[in-house]
Symmetry: D2
Subunit: 195 residues, 4 copies
């Protein structure tokens, strides 16, 4: 339990930092791109792939024409569509090759990553930078005053990026709800009744 | 190799039998239902789930508004939609519960099964009966004259039903292509370029 | 951007509350059950299904024999296995029917839910209660002092539960790492190189 | 119905041709590779991805340690593992990049394709050639004597290859059952009870 709580606090501290680091211009461009696209495609691999799927479900609930790269009924993206690619490192081959193919047909690309100089980021029309883990976590937890100084991170691999991305994307959903004037009841009506 | 070929011949013999057993009325009703639905939903579990996904991809290529129950962006079906449920036994709980929920909102239901008296079939507006395996295969292979008499089937569990369903559904796609006047080039244009 | 930040703060406030509400006995039982099972199965539908998949990936990285209900290579659970079912409402039919079938063969069941009296929770050997959304959010954000009093939640449907579950399960992963003595390098070695 | 039956006959004629074109050496090498691998990984995109999943399910039923590239709990392949890559064209980027990564760590690769000179085939340790569609189908259906001469194929895109691959792989399952001495009851015991 102790380790569980310590890890939870490390994650919370990271998320709090994220809130401060969000750049208004990046977020506004992303939301504008989502609202002006004819169709939205999302792509990600591994746990980032799960996070973009969670985002895609809410976009579907909002009534946006949304597709997940790699799923059964996903068509070919075109020039008036938007591709949202999520990758902490910005080097995931599946996302990079999707972005390359999409770029060729003129699809606009938003890349959400910790590395704004990555291969994926270089393909982007818009970038949203989200902080991933610093190599050695030296976070002074504001929640648990007993844990100070340096310690090995309890959130292995891409964990912090993936959680940050889910929280960020769900916050973007809130903006979209407001801008589209959608009420929760409308979302519920589109929510899968069979699952 | 010998067993591989013997199994292949058993499967071919089964498929040949299927061709003769298809009922015109059932097939025509199914095709009509596909063409008159606003949106088509498909459901199946296990290997039958894979077969309905293969069918769903082609319906997407044909420009039909199609969704796979259980995937990320699948909305709730409504009264003017069609649910196509595939289950050899007609008792798969996932398909049965999907059909029950769909029926409640007035979605029309087509059931493709070997058992026209199954729980699933009883929920159907239209049934397509496809032959599965007879318990002991006593098929005289028309291809391999050396194999005659009774032998244990080389196609375990639902194999024969699943293959039959894929071949049947791909044949239905051919009918839809003709009726919708779609050329292969149009299908190719919708085919996922990123996968 | 303003709405995005407000939603982000609502989510953070919720997560902070979660940290306080975690019950040591529940968390310890869950971790013990994970470590003593022969194989672990996870089940969830919709966004909860994505969250349990994210958890399953990390369990695989830890070297635990893990399966996701509904995926291709998932076998039948047995008596010495553990089923982890995630559902905010505890009423999701897919998770409930999975738990019923598992219970029949003697598989131990952990249910993670906001509703400890739900249908799913009644099937559980162990429960972990995670707070979901209160119907009207009256959270005084500790981060954004300007937002006080009651307001409509910016996190629609199960959003708060799903994020909380991901953060909690990733925190449990930290405990498992420590108890199993796994280093991050070992996790990385098992991490899919092809995705 | 008429088109449905004509398409069905075209598919059957193609499958019959396949049976004759199977090369004993290729099939025997494939089966031997499957039986001697520590773990088997399968990869395919689109409908080929569904076909390899159907194969993977049966390998799981047979008790073979099997993983599907791209699914949740798939680890990194290693030198003593086998990768089975399915692609009609042999050029599908997802399968090609999987094979490249696998080759780097020494994983053995079997490629099942219609194009033995494709990019994917060049990465293979073993190839199984399966006939796809000839550009203009000039098949004299042996089943329906009324259809003779040339006509536009009723099986668009990769349909014939995908069906052929499913039938072939299910036939290989029969060989594996015999060689491993598995009875259908054993397969049924491993078959997912929750789906």
């Amino acid at each position: 339990m102790q380790e569980t709580r310590r890890a939870l606090h490390e994650i919370l501290a990271h998320l709090q930092g994220t809130s401060k680091k969000l750049r208004k211009r990046q977020v506004d461009s992303f939301i504008k791109a989502l609202l002006s696209a004819k169709r939205v495609f999302v792509v990600g691999a591994g746990r980032s792939g799960l996070v973009v799927r969670a985002f895609a479900m809410r976009l579907m609930h909002l009534g946006i024409d949304i597709h997940v790269i790699g799923e059964t009924i996903t068509p070919a993206p075109r020039a008036d569509d938007l591709l949202v690619a999520l990758s902490g490192s910005g080097e995931t081959s599946f996302a990079v090759s999707a972005a390359k193919i999409a770029k060729r047909v003129g699809t606009k690309i938003v890349v959400i990553t910790s590395y704004p100089r990555s291969t994926l980021a270089k393909l982007a029309d818009h970038i949203v930078t989200l902080p991933g883990r610093t190599k050695i976590a030296s976070i002074k937890s504001y929640l648990d005053r007993q844990i100070v100084g340096e310690y090995e991170s309890l959130a292995p691999l891409g964990t912090l990026f993936e959680i940050t991305a889910l929280v960020f994307l769900d916050s973007v959903v809130a903006s979209l709800m407001t801008k589209l004037g959608r009420k929760e009841e409308e979302l519920r009506a589109r929510h899968a009744t069979i699952e």
